[in-house]
Amino acid sequence: MANLAVVGPALSKLELCDLLLDAAVELERSRSNRKFSRKPVERLASALSYASRPFDAAPQVGLIDPTFYDSFERLFRVQKTDTLESIDQLQAFVGEVVNELRSAEDGDVSSDAAKKVVDFCIGLHQELTREIEAESRFVIEDWRTSDIQASQGLG
């Protein structure tokens, strides 16, 4: 569904949400031996590589793109048993999924591995959705629930 010609600086949480669902639907189809499209899988691999890259600005400190840091971190805590102690662990966590996606693109992925990726997609979608919902997406202020003045400032 998402048609992300170039995964790059404009990748948003909403776009990543779409890519996750596109890929998950196709991977589930492949698991049940239905005709499936590889394109969404390829797009997601590319998007995740981008989203988890050592941040362009400061590779020396390994900071993940701030747009996606919180979601990756929460998902790690949900899906992994290790204690999260460094950003490198987050990058490795996402990197494993990217590798599986690359294998799936080549038609070389077991049903179990595909299931693992689908679970990742579902989990990350849930985290991103939670974040999108928490942010005020369109109307910045809501006079019924928040202080009025804090939002004043012309958008």
Binding site: E15, E28, P66, G155
Partner: protein, 411 residues
């Protein structure tokens, strides 16, 4: 479980709900498409939203009810899409309302094209919301669109239009900020701010209680909020450049006397006004007194003070850079800061009861209008309200004449 629902009854119903909600929304878009739009951009926005909904319906049809967890997420996505797009549809519908000053669309669209790019789209609408222009942020599905909303009561008021430039600035930021190579400098500024405020950092580390991850988290939070603050500074710089003193007067009109709670994504009120007045001086923009007098600074929550100290220090490193980027961008694209000679000529015309003709920008027209209003002490007395209304009409007529002359010259 009813026998009719078969296996996976919840998924089956949830998938059906998603399908109904998306199709109902699609239908609503199609109804709106039959409206009369004064400008084509709104119709194009509807087309893009429609494509997205159709894509979701296609994706839903490829899913199987046995994939229960996935069906739940597909439903959540459909639900959130409808939640997200519903106010946009309302915005687009209200853009057709005749209370809007359709005349200002053309000059504002030109500004949008200048700062965003040739593909820029603009939708102006009136809102039932007391805070002006709260529909700003660029929407992922409509990246080239600037949505500018003003409170319904101000929709026909040309004096309020300067703040629209701030909103257009948000779309410009999305397009241009990567080329500013700001991130690298901002990380440096964040680190410098953390180092320079060691006691605040130590207090935050304790507050977070996340051990070795605390400092990266602080850096992440400072970085994210600082970037949003810099975006607001950029948008103010766009407004100031294009509308000159009228941008400052419009801010005073909408936001005085300050003193509200501090937002992490804006500079403090006092800092924001200082950046604006310094920026005006640097651009040679003159403004009349009184301006921003008795303005109370925004008040931070005590629990956020340590964080704000670091955040503001990081932003301070780069505020001037961002303002310079905005200025260079607009200058390179042929926008001009309001010219005082032209403003004076417009004031003379308006004083004589005539619209101004010739090469004049919306910023110059708005500034001339504000100069008269301010010179006359606000024009709010019962005996002067007629003059205030007439002035608005003269300004709108001037916008129309300028547009007409521009088109004739280009023909």
């Amino acid at each position: 479980m009813s026998s009719k629902t078969g296996a996976h009854p919840t998924s089956r119903l949830r998938k059906a709900s998603a399908s109904h909600r998306l199709n109902a929304f699609l239908k609503q878009i199609e109804i709106l498409e039959s409206s009369n739009f004064p400008h084509p951009d709104a119709r194009e926005a509807l087309g893009k939203l429609k494509d997205d909904i159709k894509g979701q319906i296609r994706r839903l049809s490829r899913s199987d009810v046995s994939d229960e967890a996935l069906i739940d997420r597909l439903y959540a996505q459909a639900r959130n899409t409808v939640i997200e797009y519903t106010p946009i549809l309302g915005f687009i519908l209200r853009s057709t309302n005749i209370r809007n000053a359709f005349e200002v669309h053309f000059p504002l669209k030109r500004l949008a094209k200048q700062v965003i790019g040739a593909n820029a789209k603009l939708i102006i609408s009136s809102e039932w919301n007391f805070v002006p222009f709260t529909y700003p942020m660029t929407l992922p599905r409509l990246p080239q669109f600037a949505l500018v909303g003003g409170p319904a009561s101000e929709s026909g008021n040309v004096l309020a239009t300067p703040v629209a430039a701030h909103e257009i600035g948000h779309s410009a930021w999305r397009v241009h900020s990567p080329s500013f190579a700001l991130d690298n400098k901002l990380i440096g500024a964040v680190d410098a701010a953390i180092s320079a405020n060691a006691s605040q950092t130590a207090a935050l580390v304790i507050q977070l209680g996340t051990g070795p991850l605390a400092v990266p988290q602080i850096r992440h939070l400072v970085f994210s909020n600082a970037k949003k603050q810099l975006e607001e500074i950029f948008c103010d710089a766009v407004g100031l450049y294009y509308f000159g003193a009228s941008f400052l007067y419009a801010l005073e009109y909408f936001l005085a006397p300050g003193g509200g709670p501090r937002s992490l994504t804006y500079p403090s009120d006092v800092e924001r006004l200082k950046l604006l007045t310094d920026g005006a001086a640097a651009l040679g923009i003159s403004n009349s007194s009184p301006l921003f007098e008795r303005w109370a600074d925004s008040v931070a929550q005590s629990s956020q003070m340590d964080f704000i100290t670091i955040l503001d220090a990081a932003v301070a490193h780069l505020a001037s850079d961002v303002i310079n980027h905005a200025t260079s961008l607009l200058r390179s694209r042929g926008a001009r800061v309001p010219d005082q000679t032209k403003i004076d000529a417009a004031v003379r015309s308006f004083d004589g009861g005539e619209p101004i003709a010739g090469d004049i920008t919306l910023g110059e027209i708005a500034t001339a209008g504000w100069e008269i209003v301010r010179r006359e002490g606000g024009l709010a007395e019962a005996s002067k309200r007629r003059k205030y209304r007439d002035l608005g009409d003269l300004m709108l007529k001037s916008v129309e004449v300028a547009e007409f002359e521009l088109r004739i010259a280009r023909a």
